[in-house]
């Protein structure tokens, strides 16, 4: 039902049920906010979105009021602007003020609002926040002194991710956002998904950046710099930089990485094929030993940590095959090095992923064998974009190294593993080959259907019927647990912790939205469609790699380089 209200002396058509803020955004009036989050119930905590409502003495927060017929609203009256400016000045009163040296300098929401409100003098002086910086975790740095208590991290963590690492503690001036018992993040129940980092308006929550460590190795004559990136990274950059679809994006990214100084550049597709084969190895073994079922995917490091800490009874259900990103490390250190007559130690491998939890995964002790880590440094897409700027690369004018041959015999799995349902699709295709001996043309699950949070179906393969569940985002994990408690006929479960899987990952550019995620997903799916090799078992190089370099059968029988193990974690949940 629509009716009219008056905004800034002009009549505006509105729908019943809309909030004032939604109306304002729709008709092109920008109202600053710090606490509002799309698809979340408004809290009205930051008060930046206040507007003047005729008939009310007080200003009202537009995010938490629904429109009504009698409303006459002023969005930018002097009183409103003064109120907003004062709020920003109050937030700045105890802020550490080290903008120039801050991780978020230039893309900080607080800084932007202060600029928009034209704050040019320190009118309100308060004591500076002084807190210790929590650098305990390998993925996320927590600096409470920069926190403005907007509550976004608290809400995304508990309401969407179902983890609740953070909570508001204490009260009044002493209020601060902390993990349980003020423990450092590393020993909390954080799964390092990084959603809070993407949402934090300031640098209270930020990535651990590995630049300086990495740059040391660029100048080390004994190390060759190698880098691997997943096709998802290519899709994300294509969307982020608005590449023309006619350009060979792989060639562009290769050239960028070469210009930065990496000698060995490869994408993770080959490793994704190895992962599929090894997952089938584990699954076939489970069939032989009659369980334990269901087998959970373990390619999402955030999900793995969640199982380890919150559902230790399911640790035996996690697939022991390493994730594709870790296997890319194995591939580099044990295959590429031998092809180039190098030792595993001779290369320093950087992995680019849209994921913060991968930093944690790479640091797990299981991922280092005889002193050789699979991956030496993980950087997020966010850091990669910064690196592109640091090395002065104009992505649109870069001259691509067209002589390079990018064709590999890798299958489409590398392009699909970062999409919800993609791992399942490729796993089932590979499994079907191992069980029936034939490559199947049909797809088991539509990877284009991604709006669904949880999907369940049955698959017929030879004499076997397998129950499969695909979960997109941690918000559906309670439903999954309910399902597992009630049912015995589920054999395979794929879980991706972030909504929209890796295309909603914690390491994405800050301005990333659901729409950009959908568009970059389309890139990946389109690429996957044009690819000729649809099943990892059709990958001719793969057999050669197994035979000549890894020296194990295919699938390997729990080879310690290709498989890992999991541990129970004693943390506050």
């Amino acid at each position: 039902m629509t009716f009219e209200i008056e905004i800034n002396n002009k009549p505006v058509k509105v729908k019943r049920g809309e909030t004032i803020l939604e109306v304002l955004n729709r008709i092109g009036i920008k109202v600053p906010t710090l606490c509002s989050m799309k698809d979340f119930v408004p809290t009205g905590m930051c008060r930046l979105c206040v507007v003047e409502l005729e008939g009310r003495d007080m200003l009202i927060p537009s995010c938490s009021f629904k429109v009504e017929e009698w409303m006459k609203i002023k969005t930018h009256s002097p009183r409103v602007i003064l109120a907003r400016k004062t709020i920003i000045e109050l937030l700045l009163a105890n802020h550490p003020d080290d903008c120039l040296y801050c991780e978020r300098n230039g893309n900080c929401e607080l800084q932007q609002h202060a600029e928009d409100m034209h704050v040019r003098e320190r009118r309100i002086v308060g004591g500076r926040n002084q807190t210790l910086v929590d650098k305990s975790s390998i993925a996320i740095i927590h600096e409470p002194s920069k926190c403005i208590l907007c509550g976004r991290c608290v809400r995304i963590c508990s309401e969407q991710m179902q983890i609740a690492t953070f909570s508001f503690t204490r009260r009044g001036i002493g209020t601060s956002v902390r993990p349980a018992l003020d423990k450092p993040i590393n020993s909390s129940n954080c799964i390092f998904c990084g959603q809070c980092v993407r949402l934090c308006p300031t640098a209270a929550l930020a990535d651990r950046v590995n630049f300086s460590e990495m740059q040391v190795y660029f100048h080390d004559p004994h190390k060759k710099m190698a880098v691997t990136y997943s096709p998802a990274v290519a899709a994300i950059l294509a969307e982020h930089f608005n590449f023309k679809t006619s350009r060979n994006i792989n060639a562009v990214i290769h050239s960028i990485l070469r210009k930065i100084g990496f000698e060995i550049v490869f994408d993770t597709s080959m490793a994704a094929d190895v992962m599929m084969v090894e997952m089938c190895g584990d699954f076939l073994n489970r069939i032989k030993q009659n369980g334990p079922f269901p087998m959970f995917t373990s390619s999402c490091p955030a999900w793995v940590k969640y199982v380890e800490q919150s559902h230790p009874q399911f640790i035996k259900n996690l697939c022991t095959a390493k994730s594709f990103s870790q296997l890319a490390g194995v591939y580099a250190k044990h295959v590429i090095t031998r092809q180039k007559s190098l030792l595993p130690d001779d290369i320093y491998l950087v992995s680019i992923l849209p994921c913060t939890a991968a930093k944690f995964e790479a640091s797990r002790p299981q991922m280092t064998l005889m002193g050789i880590s699979d991956i030496d440094s993980v950087i997020t897409v966010r850091e990669f974009i910064r690196m592109i700027n640091m090395y002065g690369i104009d992505v649109h004018r870069i001259i691509t190294e067209i002589n390079e041959d990018f064709s590999t015999s890798a299958s489409v799995s590398g392009k699909l593993v970062n999409i919800s349902g993609g791992t399942t699709e490729m796993f089932l295709k590979t499994l079907s080959y191992f069980i029936t001996g034939q490559v199947t043309e049909k797809s088991f699950i539509s990877t284009r259907l991604v709006n669904k949070d949880i999907r369940e179906f049955k698959v017929q393969m030879g004499d076997n019927t397998f129950g499969v569940v695909v979960v997109n985002g941690m918000s559906s994990v309670p439903v999954l647990m309910q399902l597992l408690a009630e049912r015995q006929d589920i054999h395979f479960v794929e879980v991706m912790a972030c909504n929209n899987a890796c295309m909603g990952g914690g390491g994405l550019p800050l301005e990333w939205t659901v729409d950009t995620a959908k568009r970059s997903m389309k890139y990946l799916l389109d690429w996957a469609e044009t690819d000729k090799i649809k099943c990892p078992t059709q990958n001719v190089q793969l057999k050669e790699i197994y035979k000549n370099y890894l020296n194990v059968p295919m699938p390997s029988e729990f080879n310690e380089r290709l498989h890992t193990y999991f541990v129970k974690r004693d943390v506050f949940v």
Binding site: S158, R171, A180, L181, D182
Partner: protein, 158 residues
């Protein structure tokens, strides 16, 4: 056993009922004089509330502690009247004599110190309570003597 004690304590509250958080916390505080870490873990599982949320609620209120009380638990009143009568001097002296700060417990478990709001003895300001026993109109030398006596009794060299 403390674990058994906790189980019997939790039995009163039906599992998964979040509204019993504060009564349960009060029971624990009553039982041990503070809320132990392991008990929070168990309580979180029982009431199905994340541990961080429990900690958030518990720190909102002044009544809950997370470190045990010492054999001698000093409460120093920092209310308006006591403050005016020199509570800050007493606090400085206590901190240096006991070697601990507000909310801490000494390594040997003998002393703990808590600085709180008004204890309700404004007429006798400044007030210090030791294990619930009130000492009013306390001068600096009286306080020093009191601590020294305890140290003598516990044969701790001053």
């Amino acid at each position: 056993m403390s674990e058994d004690k906790l189980e019997s304590l939790l039995q009163v509250y039906p599992s998964g009922r979040q509204e019993y958080l504060i009564p349960a916390l009060q029971d624990m505080q009553q039982q041990w004089g503070y809320i132990p870490e392991w008990a929070i873990k168990r309580l979180a599982a029982h009431l199905q509330i994340p541990a961080s949320t429990i900690y958030g609620v518990a720190t909102f209120y002044n009544q809950f502690r997370f470190v045990p009380k010492g054999k001698y638990h000093f409460q120093l009143c920092y209310g308006t009247a006591c403050y005016l009568f020199g509570a800050s001097t007493l606090l400085q002296e206590l901190e240096s004599m006991l070697g601990i700060k507000d909310g801490e417990i000494s390594d040997d478990g003998i002393f703990s110190l808590e600085v709180g709001g008004c204890l309700g003895g404004c007429a006798q300001a400044p007030v210090v309570a030791v294990n619930g026993e009130f000492y009013g109109n306390l001068s600096l030398s009286q306080l020093q003597k009191m601590v020294e006596n305890i140290k003598l009794e516990e044969s701790i060299s001053a």
